[in-house]
Subunit: 227 residues, 2 copies
Amino acid sequence: MKILIVYAHPEPCSFNGAMKDLAVEVLTGDGHEVAVSDLYAMRFNPAGGPGDFLEREDANLFRYQREQIHAHAAGLFVPELEREMNKLAAADLVIFQTPIWWFSLPAILKGWVDRVLAMGFSYTEAARYKTGLLGGKRAMLSITTGGLAAAYAPEGAHGRLDAVLSPIHRIFQFLGMEVLPPFVAYGAARVQPEQRAAYLAEYRERLLTLEAVPPAARQADTVAPKS
Amino acid sequence: MKILIVYAHPEPCSFNGAMKDLAVEVLTGDGHEVAVSDLYAMRFNPAGGPGDFLEREDANLFRYQREQIHAHAAGLFVPELEREMNKLAAADLVIFQTPIWWFSLPAILKGWVDRVLAMGFSYTEAARYKTGLLGGKRAMLSITTGGLAAAYAPEGAHGRLDAVLSPIHRIFQFLGMEVLPPFVAYGAARVQPEQRAAYLAEYRERLLTLEAVPPAARQADTVAPKS
């Protein structure tokens, strides 16, 4: 497979960094072709807007989707986006390696979503969900949370993790992608080193069995906190 | 009241821009003191990280929350964040005026959340949810969606809007804020001009009756699409 890891953490020595490095090592060793978009290292600009385009169809009134459609047809995306689109177009599987900040993606990764998944390129008015233009590709969230697993139990402080992840999974579903079950390292910064080592061992196993994993969409509500 | 509108749209002549302008006019006319953070105009940097700080406690390993606590105690946030924190600290009510992009906040606004709502300033290990440090303040989402109301019906393509909004509302709840019911302009860019005018008239009414609105938390599951 061709695999794209979109990685969003400002600290290379973070646990997210370790997970990204592990995935590159394991997947490459397993014969896959791996590309990484290290958004902080790239200084990726998260703010979607007029800066996405080399030239605009309408220089007076900025309508984002209209400009995306025009840019897709005319090849007018800035190189930063063109490159990401090419990487995504080539990928069979996309992994988001990211912490969850404020019950959602960090802004730099949300900006990748806002800007790279442009109308015309990844969906159209008619082609979305089952007919989305990224059909045939798969996607997986590999995340860390600040809170421990207990905080995401049904009666936990933060409620069920599925409520946090389902709007993110919907992005992939909207594009026609098949969503794999997420890999979750709860409380990565708070747990003991032994637990972190266990997370990495478990992630290695998951990465080696990606082909066998049934999509999350077919097994709704299985995202349960680990003890 | 002191009201802070955090506004996230790249086009001043957008419907979001019109809603922001209307809110400034109506709320000021109603005797409130209104501040606006126009994130695109400010060229607000959405990418939370080492750039948030004038100086770091640990220059080698970047741990975000640890640096936030240190910076809060030592006055080491960059001026861009210091200013936003002061505006937020002074506000009785915060309004997010924003489109929903990809079932979530646009990256520039998510970046405001990631960076401004720093640990130490708005919450601590012990002070969160009911004891969050922004207790006594209120918050309201004023949003536009791309999809029409029917797409957010229970059987609609996107599912219930509440699934999109609840992780955003949880940000405010985590900080101890009281959440007002959202104001939703469905399909703002697709509906007829008459509907847009109706949205603005309805929003004007809402703004004039803010004090009377019961918080969303006390009336769960009432976010129903309008016909």
